[in-house]
């Protein structure tokens, strides 16, 4: 028998002790022991543990090096692997963390909880293939929890391994069937429906229907049961039975437009006469007199030339106007895309207005409001109607000056006319009549931001934020509450101000007083910095959205909500296609390109010497610093913000401190390319950036995606730009040039 050397065992003992202390969050004591070990020998486990301890102690620059040393020394040691996994998880490098946790498992770690952590990481990085293994292994280890079965099934489902997913769920169901408590029934219901989803995704509709009926007694979500059943019947061609269920669904919720549309598909109304279709809806409207849909839908399918249209639309609009429904216009708006229908509606309302005296005064008011909105709608194709719209809203305001909606609408007209300042002041008049309405408050704030009045906007929105005791405004709250619309609008306002000051600066005559020049320069920098900072705040929030999933990979299993979990995963996969994110990237990239252009110019220019006028400058500077301090208090995005004015982010971008500015932009754009393929800006950015980087194949790909998103002249110009640069480029490989030229010729043969 070989005895282990005493030294090693002493070290291992120390390490075990240190590990215990680490788990108890006694990091300093733990570090002492680890350092004792490392004094004499380089002990792999201790090295990695030191990395983790340093992280916990906030010594962030001395973590990864220790982790790497530990791995280098003994990369097959499961303890080292595990600690490395823990470290990479805490710095949110999930790919690396998953890799090392998997290594820990593969190297025989007895700690089965690693499988749980590993599966969460694999879900986060969408490594579904390996996820199935880890979830299955964890299930084998702990088959006593239903959550583990559901977890394995989800893994199989996401990996499109439908049979395994289905059999896993069926198996646990048969095991658990006789032991179900009342408190398990919700989970049971959700799991049955989830099992059904899997069958549907696998394309096995008849089996899905069969199971749905079998599980009917378990299913609590009756709405889902009915919708699933109707959908299946329809796909299986049993329209008659499907139509009966859609009628039931309409009865449950007569305001859901989809049920009506599906009913029509089942009944095969596409080759019915208009009159017959209208009769169907008349009948439905009699059954559900309070529902809007059966009254509204016929207005869409009855052609304007049919005399039924006029009588129906007249009944629809006038009954609402007489009841004083504020949303009358919004309700009818989808129909008005048809110009002939619009004309008829206009005539009806005009005629009605002629006899308005017999009704109570609010009817007149709502009708005037309607006519103003109608003209605003027409102004989209011909701006001369804007004045008409204004005339009617003024009449309405004179009639009922206390109705806030009218103020909102008049401000909207003013905004469309480009009078942003008047619009913001006028909407504020409306706001003052109802200070507790958050919607009106938010609208007013938005209008002030459009008018670049950021201070006033901040003052008003702060009425609705938490406002800590010592806070001067709600700026920090808006960041923690992730108020993306406000951050984006304010970023755009700062950006407009920066461009405005930049223009002023550029148009100054040469002999302008230095003080004025410097003052303007500061203003440019501050507004530019703040614009970037606010845009980046939204980018950061989207990062948080992605990280927020993390807890749900295990939470949803415990709660027994697999259906909603899978939906969330799919939503998260495209979270960067949210319009506000795309808008932020658009705004941010504009400023970045400007900085990039300046960089190019600066390289060629000599630095300009600044004359000094000390005394005067000092005084001005003191005054300026005071102003700056006040400003900082107002714009801080977190407590003790280290970069309140975005000066550092701006400088980092200007000096390429965190890597090349174009590379950084490409990074941001890549999320759009993966998730927001339908946006023009995605591919415009991709084209522009890759052209700078001389990545011509990627430019070609961008152009192909732009084909049906921009007009032909624009496209032509871009193609020309690309082919010009390709042919002038002498450093690029000829083969690549050929590919691009051929690609252009085959993708755009006519241009």
């Amino acid at each position: 028998m070989i005895r282990k050397p005493i030294l090693t065992s002493k070290e291992d003992q120390n390490f075990q002790e240190a590990l215990k202390l680490y788990d108890q969050k006694q990091y300093k004591k733990s570090l002492k022991l680890v350092d004792q070990n490392l004094k004499k020998h380089s002990h792999a486990e201790s090295l990695t543990l030191k990395g983790c301890i340093n992280y916990q102690l906030g010594n962030k620059s001395e973590c990864e090096s220790y982790i790497l040393k530990g791995i280098e020394k003994d990369k097959d040691n499961y303890m080292v692997n595990h600690l490395a996994g823990i470290y990479y998880r805490s710095i949110e490098n999930y790919t690396e963390s998953a890799k090392w946790l998997k290594a820990a498992v593969d190297n025989g770690s007895p700690n089965k909880q690693i499988l749980r952590d590993l599966s969460i990481l694999q879900s986060q990085i969408r490594d579904f293939k390996n996820l199935t293994t880890s979830r299955q292994q964890y299930l084998d280890f702990q088959p006593g929890y239903r959550a583990n079965w559901t977890g394995a099934a989800i893994a199989f489902h996401l990996n499109k391994n439908y049979n395994s997913a289905y059999s896993t769920l069926t198996k646990i169901e048969t095991i658990i069937k006789d032991h179900l408590q009342e408190s398990d029934m919700y989970e049971q219901s959700e799991c049955c429906l989830y099992k059904n989803d899997i069958l549907f995704d696998a394309g096995n509709i008849s089996k899905a229907l069969e199971d749905l009926e079998k599980d009917q007694s378990y299913i609590k979500d009756k709405l889902a049961y009915l919708s699933y059943k109707a959908k299946y019947l329809m796909i299986l061609g049993n329209s008659k039975e499907a139509s009966v269920i859609y009628r039931k669904l309409i009865q449950r919720n007569p305001d859901d437009i989809d049920n009506y549309k599906n009913l029509e598909i089942c009944l095969g109304t596409s080759d019915w006469e208009v009159e017959k279709r209208a009769k169907l809806y008349e009948k439905l409207a009699r059954f559900y007199p309070k529902a809007d849909v059966p009254k509204f839908l016929p207005l869409v399918f009855i052609p304007s030339t049919n005399k039924l249209f006029k009588s129906k639309v007249s009944e629809y609009i006038l009954s609402q106007l007489k009841r004083g429904v504020p949303a009358t216009f919004v309700n009818i708006k989808p129909v008005l895309k048809n110009a002939k229908k619009l004309k008829i509606v206009e005539e009806i309302v005009e005629e009605f207005y002629g006899s308005i005296g017999q009704y109570d005064p609010t009817v007149k008011l709502w009708t005037m409001y309607f006519i103003s909105q109608l003209n605003y709608f027409k102004a989209k194709s011909d701006s001369k109607f804007l004045e008409e719209s204004m005339k009617w809203i003024d009449l309405a305001i004179e009639h009922s000056p206390t109705l806030v909606e009218l103020y909102l609408f008049k401000s909207r007209i003013l905004k469309t006319q480009g009078k942003v300042v008047e619009a913001s002041e006028f909407i504020d008049q409306g706001r003052q009549m109802d200070l507790q309405d958050r919607f009106v408050n938010s609208k007013t704030v938005k209008y002030y931001l459009r008018a670049n009045n950021i201070d006033k906007a901040m003052e008003l929105i702060s009425l609705f934020t938490k406002l800590d005791k010592d806070a001067i405004n709600g700026c920090k709250d808006l960041h923690t509450m992730q108020v993306n619309w406000f951050l984006t609008e304010s970023a755009e306002a700062y950006s407009r101000l920066y461009h405005q000051y930049q223009e002023e600066l550029n148009s100054l005559p040469e002999d302008t007083d230095e003080e004025i020049v410097n003052d303007l320069k500061e203003k440019v920098d501050i507004n530019k910095g703040l614009a970037i900072k606010r845009f980046l705040a939204v980018v950061k929030i989207f990062g948080i959205f992605v990280n927020d999933q993390f807890d749900f990979h295990s939470y949803c299993l415990r709660r027994g909500t697999p259906r909603h979990y899978v939906q969330t995963i799919k939503w998260e996969d495209e979270v960067h296609s949210t319009p506000i994110f795309v808008r932020v990237i658009k705004g941010l990239s504009k400023i970045c390109f400007e900085i990039y252009d300046e960089q190019k110019v600066k390289k060629e220019e000599e630095p300009i010497k600044i004359k000094k006028n000390n005394k005067k400058q000092k005084k001005a500077k003191a005054q300026f610093l005071k102003q700056k301090e006040d400003l900082i208090k107002k714009v801080e995005s977190e407590k003790d913000d280290s970069d309140p004015l975005g000066t550092k982010v701006l400088n980092d971008l200007v000096n390429n401190s965190n890597g090349d500015i174009i590379d950084n932009l490409l990074n941001l754009t890549s999320t759009l390319i993966n998730e927001a393929k339908d946006y023009k800006i995605t591919w415009e950015l991709s084209f522009k950036l890759n052209l700078i980087k001389c990545k011509y194949i990627l430019c070609l790909q961008a152009l192909k995606n732009l084909k049906d998103k921009i007009d032909e002249d624009e496209l032509k110009q871009l193609i020309q730009t690309l082919s010009d640069q390709v042919s002038a480029d002498e450093t690029t490989n000829n083969a690549i040039k050929m590919v691009v030229e051929k690609g252009l010729a085959s993708a755009f043969p006519d241009l």
């Binding site: 009639h399 009922s400 000056p401 206390t402 109705l403 009549m433």
Partner: protein, 171 residues
């Protein structure tokens, strides 16, 4: 039939209150005058027609002995703490022009009468501009009697004929 309801004035809808008086009255009141609406000697109310605010009323308790002077010193004076209130002075009562003759003013007035008697006070008095015959007729219709003519009451406000009638209602 559209409903007519009364509701309290709050700090959040004070703007509506100002708006109604602003568009219906020929004279402007000061910010202070609006701000004291929440004092304990005040009787204020808003009237809603189909949930739209269209009418407003503001009155205060006072002692009839102090009932003198012209518009300015009168509207800024407060009830002297020691004197016992024995009348309610109706400062303003307005309904938006488009919503008149629908019973809204009457509802406000009835509320005021109710509040007055609750406070064991038995007289409501008002000033009305002599030219405002519509208002004078309206008040008379509702039981007010003409007491005297005050010369130059509205002089500081620049009205063409600055005299005012005092009308009174015993309740």
């Amino acid at each position: 039939m559209p409903s007519i309801n009364l509701d309290d004035l709050t700090t959040n809808n004070l703007g509506v209150f100002k708006k109604i008086f602003g568009v219906t009255l020929p004279i402007e009141y000061s910010e202070d005058w609006y701000a004291n609406s929440f004092d304990s000697d005040q009787i204020v109310k808003l009237a809603f027609y189909s949930e739209l605010p269209v009418g407003a009323m503001k009155a205060k308790l006072l002692n009839i002995e102090s009932f003198q002077g012209n518009f300015d010193n009168f509207n800024t004076s407060k009830l002297v703490s020691k004197s016992i209130p024995n009348a309610v002075y109706l400062e303003t009562l307005s309904v938006l022009e488009s919503y008149r003759n629908l019973g809204i003013g009457e509802k406000l007035l009835n509320y005021l009468i109710e509040e007055t008697t609750k406070r064991f006070v038995h007289e409501i008095i008002i000033h009305v501009h002599v030219e405002n015959t519509k208002a004078i007729d309206w008040y008379k219709k509702h039981g007010f009697v003409e007491k005297e003519l005050l010369k130059d009451y509205y002089k500081s406000k620049g009205l063409t004929n600055p005299d005012a009638y005092i009308l009174s209602l015993k309740v």
